[in-house]
């Protein structure tokens, strides 16, 4: 293998690694973020998504008894809320 071929192969390997890393990061970050919005279907507005997250939190509270259960509901709600926030996903995109 010539020196030029070796460098080209090295660059390609690095590029492939970076693409794979970017794809895996995108998967890790966007999957939980988009899940809630995706459940609501295409065209769901942020407010609709947020209202739905509120309702889910309310349902969580119905089954919650005590402090820690309610903390868990609040955490789930916050994660849901991030899932509704398309701006956050956009903000994260340049990082990939």
């Amino acid at each position: 293998m010539s020196t030029v071929q070796a460098i080209t192969a090295g660059v390609q390997a690095r590029l492939i690694r970076r693409v794979l890393l970017a794809l895996s990061l995108a998967l890790v970050f966007t999957t939980p973020l988009l899940t809630h919005a995706q459940e609501k279907g295409a065209g769901t507005t942020y407010m609709e998504c947020r209202d739905d997250a509120f309702i889910e939190m309310g349902i969580c509270y119905l089954n919650a008894s005590g402090y820690l259960s309610k903390v868990r509901c609040n955490i789930a709600f916050e994660l849901d809320l991030w899932g509704c926030n398309a701006d956050l996903v956009d903000a994260l995109s340049p990082l990939f």
Binding site: D51, F54, I55, S65, G66, Y67, L68
Partner: protein, 354 residues
């Protein structure tokens, strides 16, 4: 001369070093003095009062999220049925008086009722997503209000004082999630009063394990705080100037309960438990704090300069919270809901004795 100079320089450094060392010991001494107020595992003192409460019996199961009322009537938000459970004081004690509203999207119906407060002697306000549902004391619907709230807050907790309605919710400013206290000007608008940081959005500081509601009742106005610091902000009902009160409370730690991980991040179990998860101010001027010391237990203390006098050990399971009339817990048994209410007057009485 050169020799003397080279010998004298190290002496100067040694002198400077001794001074710095002395300063270092002095500061270390200060740190050691602060250690007794550091992180501790709390054990309630022997002989502390256990929960002694008035019992209210409801002939049905209910998921009670919040309550408000006065010496004659109590209104509980039932998150399960999405209605208001109305309890009235009778000669024999508190008894179920009626159930108001129902689940639905129509006028006066409730979607996700979250909090309740008496706005005046005649109006019961219920926060429902971004709306306020207003009822009269008999539960008849008056109107639905959609006030313009700070940062579009939707999970609103309510408190009232002297016919002034206050709310609190979480707002995001950059990387900071802050609790916001606001006053309802009318049914259309509210004005922000003060913010208190809760945690960072990126998870660098703070924890979601904190006070569930940032606003609390106070006979002299409202109290506000997240429990991250041993402080509350008090605001008189007619005042625009909030005053912050802090106490030298020890910080508690507790083992990580199942379902939580230990470490940094706002979803993790914090190294330091919140200083309180609920609070209430009495007419005597005392502030009572509900302090967690383990995953499922807490102690009600009267906040003071001695670090807080412990009054009562309580369970955090099935806790509804502390409001103007006192602190309440709920229990289910054979399709019956039992509400345990520890009146604020009883806490005041306990605090006066100690």
């Amino acid at each position: 001369m050169k020799t003397r100079t080279t010998r004298s320089l190290p002496r100067r450094y040694v002198a400077a070093g001794l001074l710095l060392l002395a300063a270092g010991f002095a500061s270390a001494g200060a740190l050691i003095k602060r250690e007794p107020r550091g992180l501790i595992e709390y054990t309630p003192p022997a002989g502390i009062a256990r929960l002694r409460a008035d019992t209210i019996r409801l002939p049905a199961t209910a998921s009670l999220l919040d309550f408000a009322g006065d010496s004659n009537d109590l209104y509980f938000v039932d998150g399960m049925a999405r209605n208001l459970v109305h309890v009235r004081r009778q000669a024999a004690g508190w008894e179920l008086h009626g159930v108001h509203s129902k689940r639905g999207e129509g006028p006066g119906e409730l979607r996700v009722p979250f909090s309740v407060a008496l706005w005046s002697d005649t109006i019961v306000a219920v926060s429902d997503l971004d709306e306020l549902e207003l009822f009269d004391r008999n539960g008849d619907h008056i109107m639905t209000a959609r006030p313009n709230l700070p940062c579009g807050a939707g999970q609103v907790h309510l408190a009232t004082s002297n016919r002034v309605l206050f709310g609190s919710a979480n707002c995001i400013h950059g990387d900071t999630m802050a609790a916001t206290l606001f006053r309802y000007i009318d049914t259309r608008s509210a004005s922000r009063i003060v913010d208190e940081p809760r945690n960072s959005v990126s998870g660098r500081w703070g924890s979601m394990v904190a006070a569930l509601r940032s606003i609390g009742d106070d006979a002299r106005g409202v109290t506000f705080g997240t429990g991250r610091q041993p402080c509350v902000t008090r605001l008189g009902s007619n005042s625009t100037q909030p005053a912050r009160e802090c106490w030298p409370l020890p910080a508690y730690r507790a083992d990580v309960p199942p379902g939580f991980t230990k470490g940094a991040g706002r979803y993790a179990w914090p190294d330091t438990l919140p200083y309180y998860i609920d609070r209430i101010g009495s007419a005597s001027g005392r502030v009572f704090l509900l302090r967690p010391f383990s995953a499922d237990s807490g102690v009600i203390v009267a906040a003071d300069e001695s670090g807080g006098r412990p009054l009562m050990v309580v369970s955090l399971s099935a806790m509804i919270g502390c409001r103007a009339l006192g602190c309440a817990w709920t229990a289910e048994q054979a399709n019956t809901t039992f509400i345990q209410l520890v009146p604020l007057a009883r806490l005041d009485s306990l605090a006066a004795k100690r």
